[in-house]
């Protein structure tokens, strides 16, 4: 390794360190006892937080929403990818699919809130799922498109020549090959849903997700060791899920 590439790698390492640094402090604060008299690292906040019904309710909502987002988004992304390939005006479709990335979260949430109110849909799990799908869709599409780009269309032609119809060729030949991409998109969507705050907060009504619970508790009473314990769990979950997704892809 030349001194130059050593320099570049250490710069990249420093930037990465700066990005990972904020993942550490919540862990420390979550282990702090209430008074200095108590023994120093304590796990009591991790136990105590489950006694809060508001929080456990928020966990349930978060998981429900994330599962639905993870099921629907890859499907929409897959359909969108195929429509970009097969319909006319691929540019327009792609632009439309990437649009949610280009509209600020506050505007997306606010517009959805007005819209749902006007057409008489009460804030619910459904409205939460809709705004989270909008947020996850562009990312899921990019993941699916990446997977599809490695697929050789010659294989589809071969299937056609062997007498397979369009659907059969897609199901038996292309789908198995791009499946890792679709499952990657599902994991990505799950994580994005689980970590969304801005859009969700505007359409959740009486519900709370874990993230909006953290946000509203912060705004009303401030941060507490329990909140830090929750954040630590969320960080571990996100990092863990990402690691699992990567490991699965390697296989």
């Amino acid at each position: 390794m030349s001194w130059r590439s050593g320099l570049v790698w250490s710069t990249i390492g420093a930037v990465l360190a700066g990005l990972y640094l904020p993942l550490v402090p919540p862990l420390f604060f979550s282990l702090m006892p209430e008074t200095p008299a108590e023994p120093a690292p304590t796990l009591r906040w991790y136990l105590e937080m489950w006694r809060n019904p508001l929080l456990t309710g928020a966990v349930v909502t978060s998981v429900e929403a994330a599962v639905m987002v993870a099921l629907v988004t890859p499907l929409l992304a897959l359909l969108a990818a195929i429509s970009i390939r097969e319909l006319k005006m691929p540019r327009l479709i792609l632009g439309l699919m990437l649009l949610p990335l280009l509209v600020p979260g506050v505007s997306t949430g606010l517009a959805a809130a007005f819209f749902f109110k006007q057409i008489g849909i009460a804030p619910s799990l459904g409205t939460i799922v809709v705004v989270q799908i909008l947020w996850a869709l562009p990312f899921a599409l990019l993941v699916v498109l990446t997977a599809m780009s490695t697929f050789d269309p010659v294989l589809t032609e071969a299937a056609h020549m062997s007498g397979a119809g369009r659907w059969r060729a897609f199901r038996d030949i292309e789908l198995p090959l791009i499946w890792p991409g679709a499952s990657g998109a599902a994991t990505f969507s799950f994580i994005l849903s689980f970590n969304e705050t801005t859009r969700t907060a505007l359409v959740q009504g009486p519900l709370n997700t874990v993230q909006t619970y953290i946000w509203s508790t912060y705004k009303q009473i401030g941060l507490s060791p329990t909140l830090y314990a929750l954040m630590t769990l969320l960080i571990l979950l996100t990092v863990g899920l990402s690691a699992i997704a990567v490991a699965l892809r390697r296989q």
């Binding site: 990005l19 993942l23 429509s83 506050v106 007005f114 006007q118 990019l142 969304e196």
Partner: protein, 290 residues
């Protein structure tokens, strides 16, 4: 057979329908609401420009200007950090190493940025890790005050939120450039810097624009980071909108949000006209570039 074809077409149009119905239509409706009247707690359909006049003549206009400046600063700093990394990963790193590093950049991006912003308040605070280390190694004698609750802190929060993801479009577009073009340029006697400025950089512009727009939109509409890291009274347009909502002035919030969205769509339109949207995806869409 016809019916089957029709069903297929309908299925393929499902995502388009989803985004149109649940994003485009609501955004359009939000613009409509921004002209409505507020009477007590209800909204009455009307055509009033008063919210826009309020916004454009009041102190909120300065907030808009400042949000614009901060977002531009943050985006430029992001680009200066992300471009060289993406360039190196695309051109000089082994593909397996590049993939690993790209992945390492994704993970912190996925962790909720509100949580990361909370961490920064500790790290940047008077008694936080950064001040302590600075004092320990003797760079400063007392804690540095401007690290937290300042433009600096907000910039740190924004950059760490949006920079990681910028690397992707940059990497994709740089990796998609034909190596032989650079070699040809070198053979014709161009120095590496000349080759970079006249060959690589122009060809990577679609990725640069995608990255810039992504980060700029995020930073410009940011609502949580200014509240957490900017401190009391620190207003950017994003949290200005949410605080207007807190006082139930929905039409004004809609008007501000419409202005922000219009600014973003204008950016998108420029991008759409200047580049083929598909070109920043380069290799990913190689099968359908015609």
């Amino acid at each position: 057979m016809r019916l089957q074809l029709l069903g297929r077409r309908a299925l393929l149009l499902l995502p388009v329908g989803f985004v149109t119905l649940l994003l485009l239509l609501p955004l359009g409706f939000m613009v409509v609401v921004s002209f409505w009247k507020r009477s007590l707690l209800k909204l009455v359909p009307a055509f009033e420009l008063s919210h826009y006049v309020d916004f454009l003549t009041g102190p909120r206009l300065t907030v808009l200007g400042r949000s614009f400046l901060i977002a531009i600063e943050a985006t430029m700093i992001c680009l200066v950090i992300a471009y060289p990394i993406a360039y190196y990963l695309a051109r000089h790193a082994r593909p397996s190493a590049a993939r690993l590093v790209l992945l390492l950049f994704t993970i912190p991006f996925l962790v909720n940025y509100v949580i990361r912003a909370f961490s920064w308040t500790y790290l940047l605070g008077r008694t936080g890790a950064i001040n302590n280390s600075l004092i320990k190694i003797g760079v400063v004698s007392g804690p540095v005050d401007w690290l937290l609750y300042s433009d600096f802190a907000v910039l740190v929060g924004m950059i760490s939120s949006y920079m990681p993801f910028m690397i992707f479009p940059l990497w994709i577009s740089i990796a998609g450039i034909d190596h032989r073009l650079g070699e040809a340029s070198a053979m014709l006697g161009a120095r590496p810097l000349t080759t970079f400025l006249h060959v690589t950089l122009p060809l990577s512009m679609p990725g640069v624009c995608a990255a810039i727009i992504f980060a700029f939109v995020g930073c410009f509409g940011e609502s949580a980071v200014p509240i957490i890291l900017g401190g009391v009274g620190y207003q950017l347009i994003g949290n200005e909108i949410t605080s207007t909502l807190d006082v139930l002035n929905y039409p004004l919030a809609a008007a501000m949000s419409s202005i922000v969205t219009a600014a973003m769509l204008a950016l998108l339109a420029i991008w759409y006209v200047a580049f083929d949207l598909r070109s920043f995806l380069g290799k990913i869409l190689a099968w359908r570039l015609q």
